[in-house]
Symmetry: C2
Subunit: 247 residues, 2 copies
DNA sequence: GAGCTGCAGTGGTCAGACCAATCGGGCTTG
DNA sequence: CAAGCCCGATTGGTCTGACCACTGCAGCTC
């Protein structure tokens, strides 16, 4: 192949960029079922040779897939090395949303509104599906947050973890990842407002109460009550924090 | 800098990979407000020099951001060229979800469940906020789908477009992108089932009716009715399609 | 003044190189 | 013969330096 050439050097198809050729190749295999979770991609050098692109192009494609939480790369020979199609949950959604929120591409009120819908679903499912193994970590988080001396940052982290644990208990993977992503994307904005708060201990007490009642409703399997409580929790908390200055 | 070196060549911080250094730099500017929508990143060569990494590393980072719909790159000099922080909606979420669904990382039933929640919110907001300018395209889509001779693929595309138009009318950007992403991620699976269907014209007629009533409810501002209808629509449609074989 | 032309800057791409991590198999040693 | 060590092959990670095609703008031409 001729050395340089922007976008297309007689690339068989249309104006596909080199890394898009690789992406396409992977997509085709995924759709066709030749590539599934747990499988490995060919080594970068080999893929480059196969598709007649440079290794740099392959790497860019791999980074794209990595950013989407589709693959995981690790060095070394043998079975463990190489680029593998990832199965479990990643924080790809979180990273994406975090940046979007930070750029105000998604306004915070929009995000809050979606969060309400999502967490209503989350607790409703959790109330129906939660096992003791799911409830235990939530209780532990509640205990940590109960400490009067806990600092705002830690509290915020536990708060996030609590909502994620709830989504975990829901047993719906998309709900889980989406909830985690949304709460995570709000982590910094919320923390800023926590710090701007005058009446921190008072607010913390309110949040503690909210969490307790939500947990209780879920634990006793009352999905509707839990949904109402969580909606209230999110909306009222946001109302309180809204006023605080940012950064 | 020494030429090679995996992961760390005395990179100031921890085991940050080269492209992560770039990512970090961008994140810091975003969080700090020095980078906002519409701004340009420094040229790749300059960024590489500034951060003391190779241009390849910068490009990998840019690809990551591009995969997340954060930036857009274009060649050429002057103000238009370069890498720019993107504002509007991208299909980044769609691409991410599509691959996850194709890999069954998110099981279809999980996705459908989330879709119900999201679209309930979508139509409720649309009923409250839709203007005639929003309703017109939906009506047009409905007309296209009304054609008895329309083929399944076109119908499917219009169906997607209808739901997205609805989310557009909701006036919530995150709802819009998520709805589009989810429906889009289901496009192929649904199309496969459409083709496997025995009683296509019958099913199409049902879907037409569903869409009409949802549209009517939204047009008259009855959010609750619309929410109930859309939930019914999604669930019953999925139930019908579920049986059909895949691929 | 209108139109063209060339330069400079930008992303797109490639080739070739070396580094560090890792696994396995073969060799050494007890 | 078994346990352990070591070296080589493989893989991703990174860098350098180069060239291409596209674009806008300044300066030149007519």
């Amino acid at each position: 192949m001729t050395p340089g050439g922007a976008a297309t050097t007689a690339r068989s198809g249309e104006g596909l960029k080199a890394f898009e050729v690789v992406l396409r190749w992977v997509d085709d295999r995924i759709l066709g079922g030749q590539l599934a979770v747990g499988d490995q991609l060919p080594a970068e050098r080999e893929l480059a040779r196969m598709l007649d692109v440079s290794r740099a192009a392959v790497r860019e494609a791999v980074r794209t897939l990595q950013a989407q939480g589709i693959v995981r790369s690790s060095v070394g020979g043998g079975g463990a090395g190489g680029t593998t199609i990832t199965g479990g949950s990643t924080n790809a959604l979180s990273l994406l949303l975090r940046r979007h929120v930070a750029l105000s591409i998604f306004p915070a009120p929009d995000v809050v509104e979606v969060r309400v819908s999502l967490e209503r679903l989350s607790v409703r499912l959790a109330a129906a599906n939660a096992t003791p193994e799911h409830l235990a970590p939530m209780r532990a988080l509640l205990d940590v947050m109960a400490d009067p001396g806990i600092d705002r940052s830690q509290f915020n982290d536990c708060d996030t973890a609590f909502h994620v644990a709830m989504a975990d208990a829901a047993g719906n993977l998309l709900v889980r990842d989406l909830t985690a992503a949304i709460r995570e994307s709000l982590r910094l904005p919320i923390l800023d407002r926590f710090h701007a708060l005058q009446s921190w201990s008072e607010v913390a007490e309110t949040l503690r109460g909210d969490h307790q009642s939500i947990f209780a409703a879920v634990a006793r399997g009352d999905g509707e009550a839990a949904a109402a409580l969580v909606e209230d929790h999110i909306r009222s908390a946001w109302r309180i924090l809204e006023g605080a200055v940012q950064r």
